[in-house]
Symmetry: C2
Subunit: 201 residues, 2 copies
């Protein structure tokens, strides 16, 4: 049932793309190849599966090499993988070095842009809130994931707990947040709004 729902969702999104992007029905959007003699939708799905398998392979291979946790991500632009990332938290002493963050930074460096508009991300696990928000900041178009936050929790990762924490009011969270000096900070925001050469993001 879940597989069925996944397939319908992926296909529905794919078909919407086909319409939105005015591509011909003979061109496979994920891989950009022409698959003239075959059903385009099935081919699109197959390309998605290849990208996801690449993310899963990254997760397992880099985990075996001792880079960090079992997580991998690839970023795809018009059917081409433009960046790969794996979890490197423990090997680089960087708690922000999740696979998605590593891949986003690499893709942005490659494109010379702080936005990945139109790109998709394939991840072997549902992104944690840090990575999900990073995906929003990067303006990524779509997320494909394999395992989910409950599976990650079963393997000892805090993703699901952090999702719950973020939904709570600041005063009710495990890490307390205290507001102070708001008036002084607002003056900086006013200066930002008046800045004529500011670059919005």
């Amino acid at each position: 049932m879940m597989m069925m729902m996944m397939k319908i969702s992926a296909l529905q999104i794919y078909m919407k793309d086909m319409k939105d992007m005015k591509v011909t029905r003979r061109r496979c959007w994920p891989c950009r190849d022409s698959h003239i003699k075959l059903n385009q939708l099935i081919w699109g799905e197959n390309c998605m599966i290849e990208f996801m398998r690449e993310a899963i392979n990254l997760a397992v291979n880099k985990m075996r090499q001792g880079q960090g946790g079992p997580f991998g991500a690839v970023i795809v632009q018009r059917g081409e993988i433009i960046a790969r990332g794996c979890n490197r938290v423990t090997s680089t002493n960087d708690p922000t070095a999740h696979a998605e963050i590593v891949a986003i930074r690499e893709a942005c460096a490659r494109l010379g842009d702080f936005r990945l508009t139109g790109c998709d991300i394939y991840i072997n696990c549902e992104p944690c809130p840090m990575c999900l928000a990073a995906i929003y900041w990067a303006d990524i178009a779509r997320i494909y994931y394999a395992a989910d936050r409950r599976d990650a929790a079963d393997s000892g990762f805090a993703d699901a707990e952090i999702y719950m924490e973020i939904g709570r009011k600041p005063a009710e969270r495990r890490i307390p947040a205290v507001q102070m000096l708001r008036a002084e900070a607002l003056a900086v925001f006013r200066e930002w709004q008046m800045k004529v050469d500011r670059v919005d993001y």
Copy 2:
């Protein structure tokens, strides 16, 4: 009223620290100096104000230099600033280069650890979900912030919108998320759980 509430909260947390950490009442926890002749709690509060002003100064100075948006953060360990960060999204083409992420990465590099247990973070604005989750992953003890997500929204930043998006079910979000190949990904998690030399984080 808000100032009053802030002061009570900050003081309550500070007083709890004094008790938890078994420091003498003559030592100011935020700055670690002894202020024997003065009311310790007031001094503690003053040190917090200094750290926050440093974060606000970073925000305004780096914004003026064109580094990025008007955001600054400092990380404090036992009364000493061990890392500073400013927003560098647009100058480095890195959508993850928020002040908090930059400061966390710098603090971790300095300490040679992927955890900042016991450290506090002072930020000129409430962290966005990416930075809040990064604070959880880094095991930071407390968050002090000045402006909040609504103030950021008034200046054109997407923080509040992303908080709302993260609270929604994946299928109802602006960026669609599709699950696929879960079974293949679970095999990687099982291998992680069996890995004898794994480093948990």
